[in-house]
């Protein structure tokens, strides 16, 4: 430890946890490129993801008691410098993202080997790590502009990762291009919004912003800034009418990438939306409440039904899952728009539950694609017989998607219904149940194809490789486990919701 004449207390490793969670994969990405060896790329990426995961578990354990960690980049106290601010809400999101990455990487190893040429392997993992880093950085940061920078790290790498699906189907390229255009418009809207807030307040730190916005309730610049931030992030979230980039991007991306972004990217965007709605702006502001009530809620409901309907009529398993994702985002937004602690708890717990559910299902489809060459229902006929283990996981994931008791999906819907009933909005509770019935239909279609049909004669009858089945079953197991043992997820989600509802904390100048 360096002892200087200038007073300075040395930080211990524990103090560095908030930045370490992002830094580990951040460092691993250039290392993978620098080393450039195919066989080393995967172990490095996996170790980095595992490191982040361990750190995020420690972080969550640390902040569960309601403590808020503040880490000052470069030693500069906010609002001058950039701050990482960890409370239960983002510790939980960090945990979701890193856990998904840890499980998906072994799966990716098996699927990338088949889907991509060998010479691309190191760069692929570098980009995967960058996308992962970006998502973690977005979740951890307490600075509005820094959020934009990390959002762009993850977006840019995600565009390329999706375009790599072009080796299987050229439509991945146009899907990536459309996502690039829409994502960049969204990001630009977001900086317009940040610019407006900055103009009205003179600061970029979220906690500082919140304190200053509270003093300016009727400022039209802030109102417009709010609108731009919501629309900009809404494009990333894929709120129903802004979802156009999503179906093709999920469908044509490489299998591991579909699973990863479906489980994490939109979830992190939902978190950002929550952070801005509740921590930067406060719901007791008239304009925030009105936006939630008259804009977000109707579109959430519309999305739940419209996207589910479209999902029913798909012929492609992956596209069906993509549309179902849009519908599920509707549930999260619905929870947010109820503006109550229970509603927010439902949204956060659904973040987690839907992430593991969709990760399971997309990994299952990826395993199917590996053997059948396509994700059309026709080419998946009879997979239940040739790939029994994988298909059993599909059943678990499907049940969780519907929200059958005993699975993770049930918990979030149950809390959501409770939240609606709390406010005597029984019609919303009914709509949630009704849209779950639509989920029954589209999941049943998939199950019917996989189990009720005979496999074609020329089909590859080998089961999926073990490297795929294990991650799939870890996720499927999680769907069941977290459907029965709810204290961890529900507890963390409730703490996170309480933290968010309590509004922004004071500016922490004394932290590290």
């Amino acid at each position: 430890m360096a002892e200087g004449s200038v007073q300075h207390t040395a930080l211990s490793l524990l103090d560095h946890l908030p930045v370490l969670v992002v830094l580990i994969p951040f460092l691993a990405a250039p290392l993978v490129v620098l080393i450039g060896r195919n066989w080393l790329a995967w172990p490095l990426a996996f170790m980095a993801a595992l490191g982040s995961f361990i750190v995020s578990v420690m972080l969550l354990a640390k902040v569960r008691g309601g403590e808020v960690l503040s880490y000052h980049m470069g030693g500069w106290a906010p609002p001058l410098g950039i701050e990482y601010r960890i409370d239960t809400a983002n510790a939980f999101v960090l945990l979701i993202v890193s856990a998904i990455a840890v499980v998906i990487l072994p799966y990716a190893r098996a699927s990338v080997r088949v889907e991509l040429p060998d010479r691309h392997v190191p760069l692929f993992y570098a980009l995967f790590l960058l996308a992962f880093t970006g998502l973690l950085g977005v979740a951890a940061t307490g600075d509005a502009f820094n959020l934009f920078v990390f959002l762009e790290i993850s977006s840019l790498s995600t565009y390329v990762l999706i375009a790599l699906g072009g080796y299987r189907d050229k439509r991945a390229l146009t899907a990536a291009f459309n996502y690039l255009i829409m994502g960049t418009i969204g990001a630009t809207f977001f900086i317009i919004g940040i610019g407006f807030l900055y103009m009205a307040t003179g600061t970029l730190n979220m906690a500082d912003l919140a304190a200053r916005i509270a003093e300016l309730p009727d400022n039209r610049t802030i109102h417009a800034g709010f609108a731009f931030i919501v629309v900009g992030i809404g494009l990333k979230v894929a709120i129903y009418p802004l979802h156009l980039w999503l179906p093709n991007a999920y469908t044509y991306a490489p299998s591991a990438i579909s699973a990863f972004i479906a489980a994490t990217a939109t979830k992190v965007a939902v978190y950002v939306l929550m952070r801005f709605l509740f921590s930067v702006f406060q719901p007791d502001f008239g304009f925030v409440a009105e936006t939630l009530q008259y804009i977000v809620m109707p579109f959430a409901l519309l999305g739940m039904f419209a996207a589910s309907f479209i999902a029913i009529f798909q012929n492609d398993f992956k596209k069906m899952l993509a549309y179902s994702s849009i519908a599920q985002i509707g549930y999260m937004l619905l929870g947010i728009s109820l503006m109550s602690e229970t509603g927010l708890t439902a949204a956060i717990v659904h973040l987690f539950n839907h992430a593991i559910t969709k990760a399971t299902l997309f990994m299952v489809v990826g395993a199917y694609v590996l053997r059948s060459g396509g994700s059309f229902y026709r080419s998946l006929e009879g997979m239940g017989k040739t790939m029994p283990w994988t298909s059993a996981a599909a059943i678990v994931g499907g049940l969780s998607l519907i929200g059958v008791p005993g699975t993770a999906g049930f918990i979030s819907k149950w809390v959501l219904v409770q939240a609606a009933l709390e406010q005597d909005m029984w019609w919303i509770a009914l709509l949630v149940v009704a849209s779950s019935l639509l989920a029954v239909i589209y999941v049943w279609r998939g199950v019917e194809v996989v189990f009720m049909k005979q496999p074609a004669d020329d089909v590859d009858r080998r089961p999926a490789p073990l490297m795929m089945i294990i991650p799939i079953w870890i996720m499927a197991g999680a769907c069941v486990y977290f459907g029965l043992a709810t204290d961890v997820t529900l507890g963390a989600a409730r703490d996170a919701a309480q933290g968010l509802m309590a509004g922004p904390g004071p500016l922490l100048l004394g932290g590290h």
Binding site: F177, N315, Y377
Partner: protein, 144 residues
């Protein structure tokens, strides 16, 4: 409510002009079918946003935020706000990164589709989708 005095209008004209420029860029992105033009529009949209940022940092009578080299700072000197400059430097870099990626994607799209017109690409994709539905569709009632 705001009073539209002359000083208000003159003082806000810059924002409105940049808004006009921004919307021109956005219109090109949304309306034009040529992929290269979309990227150009995106650039224009972003550059106009940068102008908006930079213009909010300007102080009347101020100069560029660079101290004299000997660091003898004149306490009377007025400097423009450096923070928007810093943000926009970052944003420009992000912008060029996006542009280069978009152009690389266009090159790949052109190689696969032999066109960079959105309308033609959509036509090709529609044909492909129709072919697929003919081949893979109707799983439900199809022959076993």
């Amino acid at each position: 409510m705001t009073e539209f005095t002359l000083s208000f209008i003159v003082g806000h004209m810059n924002y409105w002009l940049f808004t006009l420029l921004m919307m021109t860029g956005l219109y090109i992105v949304v309306d034009k079918g040529n992929l290269v033009k979309k990227i150009v529009g995106l650039n224009m949209f972003q550059t106009a946003v940068f102008m908006l940022y930079i213009s909010m940092g300007k102080v009347t009578g101020g100069t560029a935020p660079i101290f004299p080299t000997d660091m003898n700072i004149d306490p009377e000197a007025v400097y423009s706000n450096p923070l928007p400059h810093v943000l926009i430097l970052t944003a420009i870099v992000v912008g060029i990164a996006t542009t280069s990626l978009g152009l690389a994607l266009i090159v790949r799209i052109r190689e696969e589709y032999h066109t960079i017109e959105e309308a033609l690409i959509q036509k090709i994709e529609l044909e492909k989708a129709t072919r697929e539905i003919r081949e893979f569709g109707e799983t439900m009632g199809g022959p076993e």
